[in-house]
């Protein structure tokens, strides 16, 4: 399994042609207390860069963009009752949705962990 990152602070774990997407720990720390997460419905067709999810904190609402194109195969339903999972465990149990990738070549434009950490260090 390989993990990639975007400049918009999403992560995606890719296994075969299915990716699991969330926001990074850095992102949740910037947002503060998360009070609501809207996730896309199963079956939704999404294109790379689309705003497909919303993370609402006490401070502000933030769009989450899908890092890849494809079809949503699952959403993290635990977030309906426990949106704070995105604060406490952003890069594991606080995942947002899964996508069946339609074009794996889109992954080439994403960053690896090392590149993302360097990117965040510059912010």
């Amino acid at each position: 399994m390989t993990r990639y990152f975007t400049e918009d602070h999403e992560w995606i774990d890719v296994e075969g042609d299915v990716g699991t997407v969330g926001i990074t720990d850095y992102a949740q720390s910037q947002l503060g207390d998360i009070t609501f997460v809207e996730v896309p419905a199963e079956g939704t067709e999404v294109a790379k860069g689309d705003s497909v999810s919303v993370v609402d904190s006490v401070k502000a609402a933030s769009d989450v963009y899908t890092p890849v194109s494809g079809t949503v195969t699952a959403a993290n339903t635990a977030l309906a009752d426990e949106p704070e999972l995105v604060n406490s465990d952003a890069e594991e149990s606080g995942w947002l949705f899964r996508v069946a990738l339609s074009d794996t070549s889109e992954l080439k434009s994403l960053m690896d962990r090392k590149a993302y950490d360097a990117f965040v260090a510059e912010l």
């Binding site: 910037q30 947002l31 207390d33 009070t35 609501f36 609402d56 006490v58 401070k59 769009d63």
Partner: protein, 385 residues
């Protein structure tokens, strides 16, 4: 991911960028996350907005509000001179009392909301940070030359808020500044007095912006760090950032200038008719009196109301309010209420739909969120009267 509705940076900084206030280093040392606000670096949060919010509702929170403008007015006929610009009965305000008032333009639009205190001889005013330079210009332009206006720009301002604020401040053993001046525990809501703390002068009023009991403390810039340190050394007190200040005031139904109040809003639509004193209603003589008093008689076409939302998704400033197909209002501030555990909002809606219990919908991010009109404040005030 991108943050698209942040309230942090909506106030213009001057050309030199945000300025540092006297407690700047103190906030940073305590883990405050600093943002640009009203032209200053200010802490938006320390441990987290919800924890800070709930701490203030249960204990005592310390807020640095030194970005706000502190002004003093003196001179022959100062009360009457101020009454030409504000709708309050300033002449009837007794020494040691304060009240909420509004700076109005000639059309009755709201230029700022403020607190004014009779300090016995002179009047002390606290205005919003983002508007203070415009306020100073407006006041100087319209006040007669014989009225002296002093900007106390070397003073800091702290707010200590919460049900344990009085217990906490009592531990600092403030002395009344002069014989005959009130002791700290004599002060009731909207009363004020001069004190010494360990030889340092403080102006203390029992007031605030959270709906809780508490105090606002004007203190010399060079003394503010020692005071803040002495307060947070108490187990009852934690420092609180601007984020929780906003969620606390929203629950308390208190409007925020620049969002819920603007030059386009008048005191009647804003449901601030109480700020127009009885004598002033009878006599007029304040800016926009004719229009405001007519609105008071006929009713304003729009009214500021509270909305309680279903679900957990918040509606924020700019979201439109609907009844069926008709757009009947707009949200001016909103967010998740940590105390009530659901989203709340303030909105201006057509007067016909401002009645308590009216079922409406808010359009936010392409969705219709069910909401209903509820009385303000959302959470009962707990002032010490």
């Amino acid at each position: 991911m991108s943050e698209d509705q942040s309230n942090d940076n909506d106030i213009a900084e001057d050309q030199h960028g945000p300025q540092a206030l006297p407690l700047d280093a103190w906030h940073r040392a305590r883990g405050g996350r600093m943002v640009a606000f009203a032209g200053y670096h200010m802490p938006v949060q320390y441990e987290g907005i919800i924890a800070e919010h709930l701490w203030t509702r249960e204990n005592a929170g310390l807020f640095d509000v030194s970005h706000m403008g502190q002004l003093e007015f003196s001179g022959e006929g100062v009360a009457e001179a101020l009454e030409a610009l504000l709708p309050g009965d300033i002449s009837a305000l007794k020494p040691g009392r304060l009240r909420y008032s509004l700076l109005l333009d000639e059309n009755g639009g709201i230029l700022d909301d403020l607190m004014i205190t009779n300090r016995g001889g002179e009047y002390y005013m606290v205005v919003n940070g983002a508007t203070k330079w415009d306020d100073i210009g407006h006041l100087r332009e319209h006040l007669p030359d014989e009225i002296t206006m002093t900007h106390l720009d070397e003073h800091a301002l702290l707010a200590l808020q919460g049900p344990k604020a009085a217990e906490a401040l009592a531990k600092l053993c403030l002395e009344p500044a002069f014989p005959g001046m009130p002791k700290l525990d004599d002060l009731k809501f909207m009363q004020s007095g001069p004190f010494f703390w360990d030889g340092r002068p403080l102006g203390v009023s029992r007031s605030g912006y959270t709906g809780e009991d508490g105090f606002e403390i004007s203190v010399r810039g060079e003394d503010v760090e020692a005071l803040a340190e002495a307060l947070v050394a108490l187990d009852l007190v934690r420092p609180i950032g601007l984020g929780a200040r906003d969620s606390l005031r929203l629950e308390a139904g208190l409007p925020l200038y620049g969002h819920d109040l603007t030059p386009e809003t008048d005191p009647i639509s804003a449901d601030l008719g109480f700020a127009i004193s009885k004598r002033r209603r009878a006599e007029g003589g304040f800016p926009g009196a004719e229009r405001i008093l007519a609105l008071r008689e006929s009713g304003a076409p729009k009214k500021r109301v509270g909305l309680a939302l279903e679900g957990r998704m918040a509606a924020r400033e700019g979201a439109t309010v609907h009844l069926g197909d008709a757009e009947i209002g707009v949200v001016t501030s909103g967010g998740f209420s940590p105390s009530l555990q659901h989203p709340i909002a303030m909105a201006y809606v057509d007067a016909a739909y401002a009645g308590e219990g009216t079922a409406l919908e808010i359009e936010a991010r392409g969705k219709r969120l069910p909401a209903r009109v509820v009385p303000l404040p959302f959470l009962p005030h707990r002032y010490y009267r």
